[in-house]
Assembly symmetry: C2
Homo-oligomer: 257 residues x 2
């Protein structure tokens, strides 16, 4: 039987709020056994860019990572956010190791091709995560803390969505561990009624999802999230949980399997 591994993805908003961050680090440190933390870091990068006089360029609501913005996200995600998380986890007794995809070549990507005339710039679409290398670290008692940055193998860092880092890491580790992937966000879970924060749907299977999609219970931005979760399940991840950042106990939220 495979050992358990818990992978927690936390967004940039939580990392930037001291009260929430402090709770999250306490809860994450309390998770027994093998674990991995994956963080975003969106808003601080925008603030630092603005302070440096670098404009955040958007096309169709999505950020463009030009050369200057790549420097900023490399500094903020790979340095400021990642290293402070690592230092604070160490203070909590967690033997954390900060990683980008370039470190030990753990996540390789390629620059997203120009599509419909839109060039997202230095954004990486993941080719592969090295589950074998990550599992060796984890077996040695290390807790990887992964920034949303990858590399192309040609010497370039690329900006990569943290949700993608989380799902690719979970899939790559599924052959080695019984993986629970927890996506934390600002709601208690997937809601039956978006106006009622307590209307959390406790479990969703692929069959349930088809039904909820057909009858309109689940719609909008939640659709791709659950599709990603189901694709992780198909790739061997045992369960995906969507929950509040302050409720990463593995019990709260919506469980997808």
């Amino acid at each position: 039987m495979k050992e358990k591994l818990t992978i927690v993805k936390v967004g940039g908003a939580v990392v930037e709020d001291e009260a929430q961050l402090s709770q999250l680090l306490k809860d994450f440190s309390a998770i027994e056994g093998n674990k991995v933390l994956i963080h975003g870091g969106g808003r601080r990068a925008t603030q630092v860019a603005a302070s440096l006089g670098i404009e955040s360029k958007m096309v169709g609501g999505r950020r463009i990572t030009d050369a200057d913005m790549l420097s900023v996200v490399t500094m903020v995600y790979g340095g400021l956010v990642n290293k402070n998380l690592v230092a604070r986890l160490q203070a909590n007794g967690v033997n954390a190791l900060g990683l980008t995809g370039a470190d030990m070549d753990v996540i390789r990507s390629h620059k997203r091709p120009i599509k419909d005339g839109v060039d997202f710039g230095f954004v990486g679409d993941v080719d592969r995560a090295d589950g074998e290398m990550l599992s060796r670290l984890i077996k040695a008692g290390i807790t990887p803390v992964m920034a949303p940055l990858t590399h192309d193998g040609q010497g370039h860092i690329l900006n990569t969505n943290a949700d993608t880092i989380a799902s690719e890491t979970a899939k790559a580790l599924a052959p080695y561990y019984d993986v629970t992937l927890i996506y934390s966000f600002e709601k208690k879970g997937v809601l039956r009624n978006p106006d009622d924060d307590d209307s959390v749907i406790p479990t969703i299977t692929r069959a349930d999802f088809k039904q909820y999609k057909a009858d309109g219970t689940i719609s909008g931005g939640m659709l791709p999230k659950i599709e990603n979760a189901l694709s992780a399940i198909d790739a061997g991840v045992s369960r995906v949980i969507i929950t509040l950042a302050t409720a990463i106990d593995g019990e709260s939220g919506t469980k997808i399997f």
Copy 2:
């Protein structure tokens, strides 16, 4: 017999000059066997701080690391400089892993105490480097790339001199490897005549150093550098080389043993 390990320390000025950096990465990648890279990153931090409207405070010619400056060095040293070096080494076939002292708790320090009324701020004096953990990485084929940042074990990153990171790392690895520590800088080595760039002293032992110090051949800022080198030798490092950043072949420069 212990395996050979080469530790190269490169200053911020080289890292910021594309021609020199490119040569250094090529030369470093060509070093056979076990190796570690340690980098500074001074001027870019000052530039980023200035762009962010953060004043670089100096007392007696030495930089004070206040909270804002600590954020800047964490971004620049731990993120921008470190991760770009890692990505470029990966492109050269070197399986690099970027580390601060907080990562896997490899270098623990304490905040430098206030002395003679001067508070250097968030500057760390090293307590210990974990040679056992670093040697496990190196044995696994990993090349550590170390930023001049440590942590206090209480959740705080501290700014730490890159020369000190280099000597402490070399000392900590001496029980496991036959260590050559190379300090690269802007001269060809320790010069007999400061006005003649080719007057490199090829070897210096402790006896030679006493003599050169007494007769004034070596003076000023070179004295503490060589004292540090000799203390590394006393702690088991096999040899220390002071050389040009573009001549890290282990033969050029001044060899101290």
